[in-house]
């Protein structure tokens, strides 16, 4: 069955992009979840949905428009949650629902709410092109290199931001880098996983890994491994049972989370 599955080139592309995106999302997710920014992935994916609907209406390449828009949104969300005027969670909710609303209105006025919209919402394996594959390879190399090189700084800033700032670490810079990388990861991943489901790739692996691992490093490695396995398993399951990819991956992630909760409690 696996051979048959990989004989379709669109599935191969989706597997490559999906695995790399899962890997990136899980590494970034460790820091985001610990800093209580879990919902940033969800917010950004909604913004990405809005941007893609507008791109479809204007007949522009979806990535060309949504990448810069989502980068800007990531930057804005970070600034908003740092200033204490609006709470971070409220800021994310405001931005994400507004972007979703704009996207829905634009689509219904132009092409109408067709299968494209459904694909944006819940994901599709058919969406990946060769340039997406190239982009995701480049992105994942960047994320892994940045994470490895800045590992100790990311740890310090995540653990205690005000201490880091006081000792002269440029915490704002590292926060921005993480938010921007998250933005690109979300845009790439949302077309397979769907705007409504992509945040699970950010949150689940880190949460599951935190149930059993007790070091930042082991949490990061475990999250990356889990994320990859869950994606591949979800992909195969979706092929075997003819279920949507995004939803299948989320269900596998949920099952693993349940298992790890159980394991963590027995320790």
């Amino acid at each position: 069955m696996l051979l048959e599955m990989f004989s379709y080139s669109f599935i191969t592309r989706a597997v490559v992009v999906g695995s790399l995106v899962s890997l990136c999302a899980s590494l970034l997710g460790v820091s985001l979840v610990l800093k209580r920014y879990s919902m940033i992935g969800d917010g950004l994916s909604h913004v990405s949905f809005g941007a893609m609907s507008v791109a479809a209406a204007l007949n522009v390449a979806p990535l060309a428009l949504s990448v810069p828009v989502v980068l800007a949104a990531a930057f804005l969300l970070l600034r908003l949650s740092e200033s204490s005027r609006i709470r971070g969670d409220a800021a994310i909710a405001v931005i994400s629902s507004s972007a979703l609303a704009v996207g829905v209105i634009v689509t219904s006025l132009t092409t109408g709410l067709n299968t494209d919209v459904c694909n944006f919402m819940f994901g599709s394996v058919l969406a990946m092109t060769d340039s997406d594959v190239a982009l995701s390879v480049v992105l994942s190399v960047i994320v892994i290199v940045v994470f490895a090189l800045f590992y100790n700084k990311i740890f310090a800033v995540t653990f205690d931001e005000s201490f880091s700032r006081a000792t002269g670490v440029r915490a704002g810079l590292y926060n921005t880098v993480i938010a921007l990388l998250t933005a690109v990861t979300i845009v790439l991943g949302m077309r397979i996983m769907g705007a409504l489901l992509i945040s699970s790739l950010v949150i689940f692996p880190a949460l599951s890994a935190m149930r059993v691992c007790r070091r930042f490093k082991s949490v990061a490695l475990c999250a990356a491994g889990l994320s990859l396995c869950c994606f591949l398993f979800g992909m195969v399951a979706s092929y075997a049972f003819e279920t949507p990819v995004g939803a299948s991956v989320v269900v596998v992630d949920l099952a693993v989370f349940g298992l790890f909760c159980f394991l963590g409690r027995r320790r």
Binding site: F159, T167, R215, F216
Partner: protein, 235 residues
């Protein structure tokens, strides 16, 4: 020698000044306690000294050969740290980050520094434990070791004994007092625990609005009306 001189400082939060016309000095070897009620501007003062927040007006002057990077800061515990997966050694090591610039990994010098800070505070044997599983007193010692890793000429502690039980609090004060008298570390401590904090300090800064401000020797402070009130005695 005065390490820090503060002149006519106005600080506050959300655009409202809380303290104005603040003047005081921190000398080398001091054990200074900063007291005051909630919202009296203690935290804003700490942040202004560390450069995390700018003052509305006035000057914070650092002595020649001394900078704010030479202050080891021990902030209050955060919500994030409660379930954070981290080993004791990596937390202490992260105190070296500030001096490392863009250098990605810890070298031998940083590891030695962290090891000696842990040795000094008697936490070498819990080096491999997980931070979130430690007792409150042990966690404070880990954070103090991290502060010493970043700088050991002056330490600035922000309400370090909040949520500690009495024995751990006494133990913590003993450690601070020994750092001050044996190692010559200048100590600046923001505290709620007036009686405990005054036991070892030589100077007091009391923030309490315009009319009830005090800066001077601890021995003088306990004789003032303000000091008696905060110590819970009769006025």
């Amino acid at each position: 020698m005065n390490l820090i001189e503060i002149r006519d400082l106005t600080i506050g939060y959300d655009g409202k000044p809380v303290v104005s016309g603040l003047n005081f000095d921190i000398s080398e070897g001091d054990y200074l306690c900063i007291l005051g009620e909630n919202g009296s501007g203690k935290s804003s003062l700490v942040k202004a000294i560390l450069g995390l927040k700018s003052a509305y007006s006035g000057h914070i002057h650092f002595a020649q050969g001394f900078s704010r990077r030479e202050i080891g800061y021990m902030p209050q515990k955060t919500e994030v740290q409660r379930d954070f997966p981290a080993g004791v050694f990596e937390v202490v090591l992260s105190g070296c980050q500030g001096a490392m610039g863009l250098k990605p990994f810890y070298g031998r010098a940083e590891k030695r520094r962290a090891a000696s800070a842990m040795e000094r505070l008697g936490i070498t044997e819990i080096k491999n434990e997980c931070y979130r599983n430690l007792s409150g007193g042990q966690q404070q010692r880990v954070l103090l070791a991290r502060a010493l890793c970043s700088a050991d000429r002056m330490i600035l502690l922000d309400e370090p004994t909040t949520a500690l039980d009495p024995p751990s609090t006494a133990e913590f004060y003993r450690i601070i007092e020994s750092l001050n008298s044996d190692d010559g570390v200048t100590v600046v401590m923001v505290s709620h625990d007036t009686a405990g904090a005054l036991e070892n300090s030589n100077r007091v800064l009391h923030l309490g609005g315009m009319e009830s401000m005090f800066f001077g020797e601890t021995a003088d402070y306990v004789k003032t009306k303000l000091g008696k009130k905060f110590l819970g005695g009769d006025e």
